[in-house]
Symmetry: C2
Subunit: 457 residues, 2 copies
């Protein structure tokens, strides 16, 4: 269709030429369309058509050579705490309790808004390099994260982390952040309200935040039933599960992205199913393995109940990377083992979970998650020609089980090229890395004995 529209000085037109295109249907097998041109107008995919190499291009069209590359929808990191890259590798080989109380929550009490800005930018650089175009964030000083997203060109849903111990002013600030930033950065920033967890936020505050979410037309993003011990503790202390708390306080009704959910139990499933349209669970298996948790997120039960499941990394203080390739591979591997069924969580289902599921988990399924006309142009060009992917019998299997973040060559978000042939265009990477290094010693110092919170779920 775009060929019949006359060129316009104010319109931005981008054509990715000659790439193969991964198709991820809502059900059934994924497949690859060979040799396509993806035509993008003002950030939206106008057309995906068979390539014609000698077709003349309109003057002013930005061209990307996609030949030999596979285009896929940008990866979605459905749960992270992006600025925690600053604490990467600083909390190893410890228990969950030690991780929170001895390492992470004391370190987080050192953070300044400027630390968060630098951390978020570093996280954006890492995510662009690995083909993550959208992330669901949950952290302090969310304005600094939103600015980093706006500046680097990524897409994010940002939830300001809220503990009840931080008081009314903090609660007001999270609501004000949502009022200011939801729909910001040309629509690339959306906001969710971010009560930390049912064990750190009172029922009263959860109710208040659910009311605000409904009023503002945003959702919530919350840790809940992170592992079975939390569920058992909740049952023991108050007689109901964490998911029942979310139901009772209106959080499910407002719409919730639930992080982890390894402790979701049978009676929770009908409650989640009842709100399936606006409820999702983000599965981040690397941290569950590393923290020696069992069972894992009950993905099969959740999908059977109609609940959206997506793939996340959690923060890099636990996951060590923000690499969604690694995360989706671990979802496939751990789910096969957990269910003792090698034939489920197939390569097509895994890609669907990561791409379609990720989009839906953030309420963005009408904008991202597939490369079709009308969708925002979030495109990742991946090179599967390296020896670790060859021979390339099955590109879907290569994406799930062989490809690495380093195979991403070019990244487009909203029609804007953020990385071209491995070169970042919106981040001054050397300056950023030097700045991050300079901030580290102060952040790691926990000799003061402070902490943002005490872990006792």
């Amino acid at each position: 269709m775009s060929d019949r529209t006359p060129p316009s000085a104010s319109r931005h037109r981008l054509v990715v030429r000659g790439c193969d295109v991964l198709r991820v249907p809502l059900a059934g097998e994924c497949d690859v369309l060979p040799a396509r041109d993806i035509v993008v107008e003002d950030g939206v995919i106008a057309e995906v058509r068979p390539t014609v190499t000698d077709r003349p291009v309109e003057p002013g069209t930005e061209l990307l050579d996609g030949r030999g590359l596979l285009a896929l929808p940008g990866l979605v990191n459905a749960h992270t705490h992006s600025p925690m890259v600053l604490m990467r590798g600083a909390a190893e080989d410890v228990t969950v309790e030690g991780w929170f109380n001895d390492r992470v929550w004391p370190m987080e009490s050192n953070l300044t808004p400027e630390d968060v800005r630098a951390g978020a930018l570093l996280a954006c650089a890492e995510m662009i390099r690995s083909g993550v175009t959208t992330f669901a964030d949950h952290y302090f000083f969310p304005e600094r994260i939103a600015e980093a997203v706006a500046g680097t060109g990524l897409r994010a849903d940002i939830a300001p982390t809220y503990f009840s111990s931080h008081g009314q002013e903090a609660l007001d600030a999270t609501v004000a952040f949502a009022e200011t930033w939801h729909g910001g950065a040309d629509g690339r920033v959306t906001v969710s309200l971010g009560p930390h967890a049912p064990y750190t936020v009172t029922d009263t505050d959860l109710r208040t935040l659910a009311d605000h979410a409904r009023r503002l037309g945003v959702r919530t993003h919350i840790h809940a039933a992170e592992h079975l011990e939390q569920t058992e503790s909740s049952l023991q202390r108050r007689g109901i599960t964490p998911v029942q708390v979310l139901r009772d306080t209106g959080i499910l009704d407002a719409g919730a992205l639930i992080a982890h959910g390894c402790g979701i139990v049978g009676p929770d499933l009908p409650l989640l199913a009842e709100h399936a349209g606006t409820t999702a669970v983000a599965c981040c298996p690397k941290v569950y393995l590393k923290h020696a948790l069992s069972p894992l997120t009950p993905v099969r039960d959740l999908l059977a109940a109609g609940v959206t499941v997506a793939v996340g990394t959690d923060g890099a203080a636990g996951h060590n990377t923000l690499d969604v390739w690694e995360a989706l591979r671990l979802v496939a591997l751990t789910q096969k083992q957990a269910e003792r069924d090698a034939t489920w969580m197939t390569v097509s289902d895994t890609l669907r979970l990561a791409l379609r599921g990720g989009a839906r988990a953030l309420g963005l399924q009408d904008r991202i998650g597939s490369l079709e006309a009308g969708m925002r142009a979030d495109i990742v060009l991946t090179d599967l020609s390296g020896p670790h992917c060859r021979p390339l019998h099955d590109p879907r299997a290569a994406l799930v089980y062989s490809a690495r973040a380093g195979d991403v060559r070019t990244v487009v978000v909203d029609g804007r090229v953020l990385m071209r042939d491995g070169r970042l265009l919106t981040v001054d990477e050397p300056a950023l890395l030097a700045e991050a290094d300079a901030r580290v010693a102060r952040i790691l110092d926990t000799s003061h004995g402070r902490a943002v919170q005490h872990y006792d779920p």
Copy 2:
């Protein structure tokens, strides 16, 4: 010491200048020595000394700039079937039985010696790129693999796969291969005898091969107790476990590298402990997860019994890559979870397992596994400066949990540079990839109904 030795035209001298060096002690924490020169003479590490940048070098010395890079001992892939890269991605989402009987063993009946040569070369390219300098292989047409190792400059222990169904001639050929190739390629090729498994090789043949191994001074490399169902089946069919079969037939006495061992049970441990000096178990967790197996290799029990444990990938028809970074990370993650103990299999212990354990598993602990004077110069220069590794609080944690195969820059084996700054020097990669592609359609065709063996353990 090398400074006092006069230069000689016949001597090859290599200096890696200014790198940091990972130290992996036999017990305790790993650490990093900053800014070292590694001096190599005729393939042997002569000295690791603090760097002096203005020190003049002897004429004829080959120099590698290691500044900003971390040198580690070459990774060891302790169990693989290298030519199976040709079947990468061709057996997805199937049961163990389906994998063997419907996919892999029928495809393997198509293989020619030339296929194996091409597959082994492709595997070598992938392994060099990812910093694997030594691998324990187990496959058909082992001469072709040995030639690939000789030509590419890697180091390998090669076991010719033997099934009793293939008869006396095949058995004689495996022994002849050991006689010809053990100690070949300037000592870089060693040989183990390769009975496939106790369920595909008769006790008589196991005894014969154990006798040959002792006579030749080589070991055996065998699949055994791959998963618990095999152990249960062995107990049911013959009243003893697979490890007891290895003991009774003299295989343990001859020295055995046991692949997988997920089905090793309590009564097996004293038998393995008795032969701990020459017995090792290779753990390849990606394939166990993918094949939905549980439990995993009992690494904690094996180490407690004094048995060497090493890290492998298995063949790429299951593992999809030959990436030991991925494998060692999964060992750490899955072992923490399996033991429900986040504080064990620490980053130092994981690196020791992969490096020292790998060397010992192949009987090469006097030659490889650490960067010290007197060891063969198998050196991997790794770049941890990417955003996914930064800030670099703890290089050990970065190696285990953040680094990727693509972070390997330069690879040296036996003092010879096989990859420099990401460029392979001993493999014509484009020609090889094209050749592998051309061989694939015939190898994947299973319409003939043949198979190398039937799986019924």
